[in-house]
């Protein structure tokens, strides 16, 4: 649709097309299934859920669980609901995504347009960092954050997410800028533009598609992160996932599944929104950068 409306040269028969549609719709159902389960059960009273029939539509429709999950469910000692944590997440995600994307863009710019000796090794080092299992960094990271005085703060979390996201953003921007015509950079140099002016005036305005990919990727990962959020957040900076976990994982006590599901959907709304709004640019961005050699 939105992506390169070029003519596909492939021709298919009517039977084949019907089959293709059938397969596509079946898979669409498969992908929708968990969301369906969550939505349906989030608008049922609890008795209806414990009575069985998780696929059934609600007999009694209620938005009570949503209201409760948002504003009055017990997360800690006070029944605050998820709402305060939502803002904690926003305060952490926005700077973390912005900084890691800008750093990735600058790195990609340097690594493709200002090549120097050993630049591929530097890139390799940055890229390999994507593969470090997060479980092993918890303790040393805690120590570092403590030394830097960032323990328990939102900025500490931002730092952590930037560190472990910059490998991906660099990869995306590097691949994108690799096919960006070098002559443009040279022309700008002759025109007298400096390092940052070239980046700001020439490269960045053309980086929309890959920025979308980078932002979607980072936003999703950081918003959904639990491990770092739980380990490094302080009392005032715990993100949404930690609160959701507190809601869902409450150990001893009645499990209000409808509230859990409502909370889960609430926690997922921002990422869902990002996918739906920016999704149409996503394939275009991938096409422009990350899948090219």
């Amino acid at each position: 649709m939105s992506v390169a409306t070029q003519d596909t040269a492939i021709r298919t028969g009517r039977v084949t097309r019907t089959l293709i549609y059938l397969v596509l719709v079946l898979f669409a159902l498969f992908y929708m299934l968990p969301l369906y389960v969550m939505v349906v059960n989030s608008v049922k009273p609890l008795e209806e859920i414990t009575g069985g029939g998780m696929m059934n539509l609600p007999v009694v429709f209620t938005l009570e669980p949503w209201a409760k999950a948002w504003s009055s469910a017990q997360i800690g000692v006070e029944p605050t609901g998820l709402s305060p944590y939502f803002w904690n997440s926003i305060k952490m995600v926005v700077p973390a995504v912005a900084i890691s994307t800008v750093l990735g863009a600058l790195n990609g710019y340097v690594l493709t347009k200002w090549r120097f000796k050993y630049d591929t090794i530097v890139f390799g080092l940055i890229l390999f960092a994507c593969f470090i299992p997060f479980q092993i960094v918890l303790i040393p990271m805690a120590k570092m954050l403590g030394l830097m005085g960032l323990a328990g703060t939102t900025w500490g979390l931002v730092l952590v997410h930037v560190v472990y996201g910059v490998g991906f953003t660099t990869l995306y921007f590097r691949n994108y800028y690799a096919v960006f015509p070098t002559e443009l950079i040279r022309a700008a140099q002759i025109d007298g533009a400096g390092f940052f002016q070239i980046f700001w005036r020439i490269l960045l305005p053309s980086s929309g598609p890959i920025a979308v990919v980078s932002i979607i990727w980072q936003f999703t990962n950081i918003w959904n992160d639990f491990l770092f959020g739980a380990s490094f957040a302080g009392a005032g900076s715990q993100p949404m996932t930690v609160a959701l976990n507190n809601l869902v994982q409450a150990s001893h006590g009645v499990k209000e599944y409808n509230v859990h599901f409502a909370g889960a959907i609430l926690a997922a709304l921002p990422t869902l929104l990002v996918y739906i709004v920016a999704g149409r640019y996503f394939v275009r961005g991938l096409m422009a950068g990350s899948v090219k050699g």
Binding site: P181, E183, R186, A187, A188, Q189, D191, G192, R201
Partner: protein, 370 residues
């Protein structure tokens, strides 16, 4: 000292030297063309003049100021790129004035300069468009406008016409020539197209393998190529190069050339110094247009030789007809008038203007005469 001096300049990537001691001095207002096959080092040299590549050794000076290590934007040069390198996110107008903006020129002056350039290049109506909405020729003009507006000391062109179709290329060629005559700026122009080189330049540097093979006016290059590479690279169809043996006949040096049937024809040289080569093998260079029929032979020439040889193929090309024959064991092309009475398979008597013939040393491939 010239306006632009390239003084003993070399370029190496690691241990590999790709440009060997280039030494060119360009006068103010000159149009220098660097021509050669791809990989000959011509674009590297241009980039070094622009400051886009570092100079390994030697010096480049503009107006006597050493440019080594000077940032491109401080050299007062402008460059037109093969892909035009127009900034896709800016309008034509912004593209043209970007350089001025970067140099801190105030807006009113920028606008005036932009208008002047736009009217010069007749692109006023395009100023608000984005490059994506322009045709190839229009982009070319914008790219030139961007260079012109800076009013630089030296213009650098990097194969600016190679992305255009044949018709447009010829038009733009003329356009560039006109501009040069009008503005009188110093230009260094890179191309692999020898016709562009011949038509545009005041001087040509023919490059190959990282060496400047010959530096001279178009006429010098054409008439007295320094070696076989230059001889065959410049001119279309290329100069015929065939083996011959030098003999003294009647006190004059002659080239003994084997015809299609194995018999020998004797073609007298105009140059006396060919006597030194008596009894030796040489390579004889003859331009196709100097092999004609008797009627078309150059009246002013003092040395027309004749030979009868069999025609293998004829190729009528409108204004001319190209005739292929076997001479000295090679395919040799003659350029005839279109009304010449030539037929494939027939024998024909050709007139060869030996005044224009060139001889090369078969070992060094360097020219020995004239």
């Amino acid at each position: 000292m010239g306006f632009l001096d390239i003084d003993n300049t070399t370029k190496s990537y690691g241990a590999v030297e790709v440009l060997h001691k280039v030494d060119i001095s360009v006068q103010e207002g000159e149009f220098l063309v660097l021509v050669g096959p791809s990989g000959c080092g011509k674009s590297t040299l241009l980039n070094m003049i622009a400051g886009l590549e570092e100079i390994t050794s030697g010096e480049i000076r503009i107006k006597d100021a050493v440019m080594n290590g000077v940032h491109p934007s401080k050299r007062n040069i402008a460059m037109v790129f093969q892909s035009y390198a127009l900034y896709p996110n800016m309008t034509v107008g912004q593209n043209i004035t970007f350089g001025l903006e970067m140099h801190g020129t105030p807006k009113p002056e920028r606008d005036k300069a932009m208008k002047d350039v736009a009217s010069l290049l007749q692109i006023e109506q395009l100023l608000d468009r984005k490059p994506g909405a322009l045709s190839g020729g229009q982009r070319q003009r914008v790219a030139m406008g961007r260079a012109l507006v800076r009013n630089p000391d030296v213009f650098l062109f990097d194969e600016p016409l190679s992305n255009l179709d044949a018709k447009l290329r010829v038009d733009m060629r003329t356009e560039i020539k006109k501009l040069h005559q009008k503005l009188g700026t110093t230009i260094v122009y890179v191309t692999h197209d020898q016709i562009e080189a011949m038509t545009l330049s005041t001087r040509i540097a023919v490059m190959n393998g990282g060496y400047v093979q010959q530096l001279g006016t178009p006429q010098e290059i054409y008439d007295a190529p320094a070696n076989i590479f230059v001889a065959t690279f410049m001119g279309s169809p290329a100069m015929n190069v065939l083996p011959a043996k030098v003999e003294i006949e009647n006190g004059r040096p002659t080239a003994q050339v084997i015809l299609h049937d194995g018999s020998t024809v004797s073609l007298p040289f105009s140059q006396d110094n060919m006597k030194d080569w008596a009894g030796k093998e040489i390579l004889l260079g003859i331009r196709p247009e100097t092999i004609t029929d008797e009627d078309a032979a150059d009246r002013k020439s003092s040395n027309i030789a004749h030979m009868t040889n069999r025609i293998v193929v004829t190729e009528p090309a409108g204004s001319d007809t190209f005739v292929t024959m076997t001479l000295g064991g090679k395919d040799v092309i003659a350029r005839m008038r279109s009304d010449a009475n030539v037929q494939a398979g027939a024998d024909f008597t050709f007139a060869v203007n030996m005044e224009k013939a060139v001889a090369f040393d078969p070992k060094t491939e360097a020219r020995i005469a004239p």
